[in-house]
Symmetry: C2
Subunit: 329 residues, 2 copies
C-alpha cells in the first residue's frame, strides 16, 4: 500500500487536523473531532448536517460553510459515523429552528442518522439522497445509492436555508432536488482503504466496472475498457432515460472524478457528455468539473445531471463559501 | 493504458473543448485552439500570458480569468507550446501596455517563449519561475525547474496587473515572488503520457522518487517509502534551508497533489508541514490544499512555501475568478 500516511489508525485524525488548520477561516473541529462545524453559525437559521464515511473528500467536510452545510460528521474510511457524533453536532449547530439531515442512501448511514434523530430534543427531518441509476440495490444499500448528486442537494438546500427557509421547506426542497438528480459512475481502477491495506476489488488491465459505487461496490457489469464517448453514452443514456427530460430542459452537469483521474480526462468526458445532452435537447446551464465526491485514489468518474428551473438555478448561484466550493464571496 | 479518452491524437482538443464549454463564462478558445483566452479582457491592462505542456491541469488554462492570466497556451502533453501559439495569444490579449510572459524554467518553454517575444510588436517581458529546490539542474532544465510555485507567481502578479501595475512593475513583482517561493515534490507512482502509452518511469511497490519533477523527471534519489512526517521533513527542510526565513515570517503554504493523490493524504501532509513550519517559527497565513499543478495521474505531492509581506498577502487575497481558483467574486 502506497500512501502518504504515518500510521493507519491516525490517518483520519491527522487529515482532519490539517483540514481544520488550512480552512480555519471557515470551519472549526468539534471536541474529539466528532464533527467539522461551520466557524460562524448564523443565528435563527435551520441547521444542515451531513456526514458519512471518510474517503469521499471533499464530500462532506469540504462543503461546510456559508450557503451549504453547518456541520459534517466524518466516519472512518468508508464507514458510517456514529449516532453520538451526529447528536454532538446537532447540539453544536442547532439554532432553535430544527436540523435537516442530508444522508446518502446506505443502510449504515440511514440507520445511524435515524438513531441520532431520535436522540435529539430539537426537531429533525431527513432527506435521503439516492441519485445513482446504475443499480436498484447494492452491497450497502436498499434501493439506489446516494452518490455525487448529494453535493447538489447540499448546495441548493444550503442556499435556501441561508436565505431563511423553514425546516419543512428545506426538507421538501431537498426531496425535490434529489428527484431531479441522477448519476452514474465508472471505475478504471480500484482503491485501497488504509485499514485494509489492499485494493477493495481487482480489475484487469483492460477492464472497467460500469456503474461502480463510491466504495468500489459492483455496478452493472465488468466489461472491457471502451472509448470515452461510449462510456459517456451508456452513463448519460441511463441517466436521461430515467429522468426523461423534456427537450429544452435546463440542467446542472457535474463531471466528477473519483480521486485518481486527471483533469484532462474529466474535461474530455465533459465534452462527450455535452454532445449527448445536445442530442437530447438538454442545456447544461451550469457545469462543474472536478473531484468532488471521491473514492480515495480510484480512477474513473461519474456523471450527474440535475434538472433545474430558474428558482433552483438562482439558489445554485447564490454565494457559497466552503473549502471545496466557493463563489460570490 | 487505462484512460478516459477516444483517441490519443484528439485528447487535447476534446479536453480543451470541454474546458471551454464548462467555463464559457470565464474563457474562450482561440482559433485552432492555439490558446485559452480570458473572455472579457480589461482595457488598458498589462496582459499576462503563460502556458506550457498539457497534463499539469489546472495549470495553466485553469488560471485564466479576472485577477490572474489573460491567456494560456497549451502544448501537447508534457511538450512546450510553439512560438506561433504565443504570438497568436499576444495578438489577442495585448492592450497596448505590453505583455508579461510567465514561464516555467524548462529549456523548451523558455526558448519558445523567447522566440515568441522576438516575433511580437508589443513590448514583452519575461518572468522565469524556478522554484524547485530538489535539484540544481534536470532532464529538461538548465538550473532549477519551475513547478507549483508558478501558480503563486501567476496569482500575485495577476492581482497587481488587474490593479493597474505597469509592465516593468509586474515583471519586478514576478521576480520578487519567485525569489520568495520554493517547492519540492515526491512521487509514489509514475504517470502515463497518452501518446507514449506506457508509464514514464517505473517505481517498485515500496519505492518513491524524492524530489521528482512534474514530468516524472528524476529527483534527488529513489528510496523506500517513508512516513508522511519523514517525507514532509525532508521536503520542508530543503525548502526552508534554502529560503532561510527569519523566525516570525509569514507564508503562503501550498500542498499540491500531482493528480492521483486522495484529498485525505494531502490534508495529512498539510498537517505534517504545519508542524515543521511551527518548529521554524514560520506562520502559514494562507493555505491552499489541492491538485493544482499536476502530472496527469501521478500519485504524490509537492510542498511550496512562499514568504509574503502584507502587500503580497493583500494581492493574494484580492478577487480572482478562474476555473480553478476563485474568491471575492
Amino acid at each position: 500500500m502506497k500512501k502518504l500516511i504515518n500510521a493507519v489508525d491516525t490517518v483520519l485524525a491527522e487529515s482532519l487536523d490539517g483540514f481544520a488548520a488550512a480552512h480555519a477561516d471557515i470551519v472549526t473541529l468539534g471536541t474529539d473531532r466528532l464533527f467539522v462545524r461551520r466557524k460562524t453559525l448564523k443565528p435563527g437559521k435551520v441547521a444542515l448536517l451531513s456526514g458519512g464515511g471518510s474517503g469521499h473528500e471533499p464530500l462532506h467536510a469540504g462543503f461546510v460553510g456559508h450557503g451549504m452545510l453547518d456541520a459534517a460528521c466524518p466516519g472512518q474510511v468508508f464507514t458510517s459515523p456514529t449516532p453520538d457524533q451526529m447528536a454532538a453536532a446537532v447540539a453544536a449547530i442547532d439554532q432553535g429552528k430544527g436540523t435537516l439531515f442530508i444522508v446518502k442512501n446506505y443502510e449504515g448511514d440511514v440507520m445511524n442518522f435515524e438513531m441520532a434523530a431520535d436522540m435529539t430534543e430539537t426537531p429533525v427531518k431527513l432527506v435521503v439522497v439516492d441519485d445513482d441509476v446504475a443499480v436498484e440495490k447494492s452491497t450497502y444499500s436498499i434501493g439506489r445509492r446516494g452518490v455525487a448528486g448529494t453535493m447538489i442537494v447540499e448546495r441548493i438546500v444550503g442556499a435556501a436555508a441561508e436565505q431563511g427557509a423553514a425546516l419543512d421547506e428545506a426538507q421538501a426542497l431537498g426531496k425535490d432536488v434529489n428527484a431531479r438528480t441522477r448519476s452514474m459512475g465508472v471505475a478504471l481502477t480500484s482503491c485501497t482503504v488504509p485499514a485494509a491495506g489492499k485494493p477493495t476489488f481487482q480489475l484487469a488491465e483492460d477492464e472497467m466496472e460500469m456503474g461502480v459505487g463510491i466504495h468500489g461496490e459492483p455496478g452493472r457489469r465488468r466489461v472491457k475498457l471502451e472509448s470515452a464517448d461510449a462510456i459517456a453514452a451508456e452513463m448519460m443514456g441511463a441517466i436521461l432515460d430515467d429522468l426523461a427530460p423534456k427537450s429544452g430542459s435546463e440542467a446542472i452537469l457535474l463531471v466528477n472524478g473519483f480521486g485518481g483521474t486527471p483533469s484532462m480526462e474529466l474535461y474530455l468526458m465533459c465534452n462527450a457528455a455535452n454532445k449527448i445532452l445536445a442530442g437530447r435537447g438538454v442545456k447544461p446551464i451550469r457545469t462543474l468539473v472536478g473531484s468532488y465526491v471521491t473514492s480515495l485514489e480510484m480512477a474513473g468518474c461519474s456523471l450527474t445531471v440535475s434538472l433545474v428551473d430558474d428558482k433552483l438555478a438562482k439558489l445554485w448561484d447564490s454565494p457559497v463559501h466552503t473549502a471545496a466550493l466557493r463563489w460570490g464571496m
